[in-house]
């Protein structure tokens, strides 16, 4: 056996806790990433671990496939994910998170896949696909994380919004200043209708007006 390996790294303008929130917000894959994912289902989830089935289309090779993924937070700086693919492949992922001050962090993803030795020649393709995937989803996640961090600092409360907007009152003086972001897992979910049916994207195509 041999190991195919790929590593991608980028910095993000938010604390690492917001990135963890984003990874554990499974529902957003059929919203924010509607161009890639068409369905997901959470089979089990508790605290820092989860078992999630996702259906998506891989870039470059344009393969429509699915995987069953187990993800756990090993420590505040490391998420591990093991994706069991339909064809028997196992993709392991390490997501390293490092704060850079209070408003910025570095995210490093290491993808590995064990394959029979004769498939070592596939490593460049493996690197191209994982790198394209990392950047494509990053481009969609980045504005989400940055916006989440912005509204959080303005005083956002989940399932409520911003009080000064709802109440039509003056903005509080502290709005926009640093506000610690507590890591609370699992991330609350919208009830599935019917229960256990998972989450589907609403459409494949859209006229995007933008953020």
């Amino acid at each position: 056996m041999t190991t195919l390996r790929s590593e991608c790294s980028l910095e993000m303008d938010c604390p690492k806790e917001v990135v963890v929130w984003n990874y554990y917000d499974h529902e957003h894959v059929v919203g924010t990433h509607y161009k890639h994912y068409n369905y997901c289902r959470i089979l089990a989830e508790k605290d820092g671990w989860c078992l999630v089935e996702r259906f998506y289309k891989l870039p470059i090779i344009q393969l429509r496939t699915s995987s069953l993924g187990f993800m756990y937070l090993e420590n505040p700086n490391l998420i591990r994910s093991i994706q069991y693919g339909k064809l028997g492949s196992v993709l392991e992922q390490e997501i390293h998170l490092q704060d850079i001050g209070t408003d910025r962090c570095k995210v490093t993803c290491i993808y590995t896949m064990k394959v029979p030795g004769i498939f070592k020649f596939l490593e460049p393709l493996f690197q191209r696909v994982t790198t394209r995937w990392f950047h494509a989803t990053w481009e969609e996640d980045a504005p989400m994380r940055i916006r989440r961090w912005k509204v959080w600092k303005l005083g956002f409360r989940d399932f409520s919004g911003l009080e000064y907007i709802n109440e039509m009152t003056e903005k509080p003086k502290e709005a926009g200043e640093f506000r610690p972001y507590p890591l609370q897992l699992p991330v609350p979910k919208t009830p599935e209708r019917p229960p256990g049916s998972g989450y589907r994207r609403l459409f494949k195509k859209s006229v995007e007006v933008g953020y």
Binding site: G31, M144, M168, T169, T190, E208, V209, G210
Partner: protein, 130 residues
């Protein structure tokens, strides 16, 4: 509920400013998509024309803070990008969770410009205004 101010006669710009309105955009910004969003003083505004009427809602989804107006309105509904929460363009009511509602801002269209009042005067302020 806030809404487009259609009371006559048309108020002057000075009167609008005095009443707490501010100019936020030109009507021409609605041309490409019939809607747009922009941040003004830490308010993310979703401006659209629905059935001929100017509407200004908060663009911040009360669920997790996503952009309600990311996708072009379709079938009279906005769909938040992040988690597909649906909102009616006619009144901002949420079709996914009946407990949610988008705040609607009081707005005025005047001489090709869009004016919005971000903060409603308190009872006390209202009583002291001329």
């Amino acid at each position: 509920m806030a809404h487009q101010d259609t009371s006559s006669p048309a108020p002057t710009a000075d009167r609008l400013i005095q009443d707490g309105f501010q100019r936020i955009a030109n009507v021409s910004e609605l041309v490409p998509h019939g809607q747009f969003s922009k941040w003004v003083d830490d308010h993310d505004l979703l401006v659209c024309r629905f059935e001929g009427e100017l509407k200004v809602y908060t663009n911040i989804c009360p669920h997790f803070g996503g952009p309600v107006g990311y996708h072009k309105i379709n079938g009279g509904k906005f769909v938040c990008l992040w988690h597909n929460y649906e909102f009616a363009a006619k009144d901002g009511s949420c079709l996914t969770n009946r407990h949610f509602h988008l705040r609607e801002y009081r707005s005025v269209e005047k001489d090709g410009e869009i004016w919005v009042r971000l903060v409603e005067p308190s009872e006390e302020t209202r009583n002291t205004q001329p």
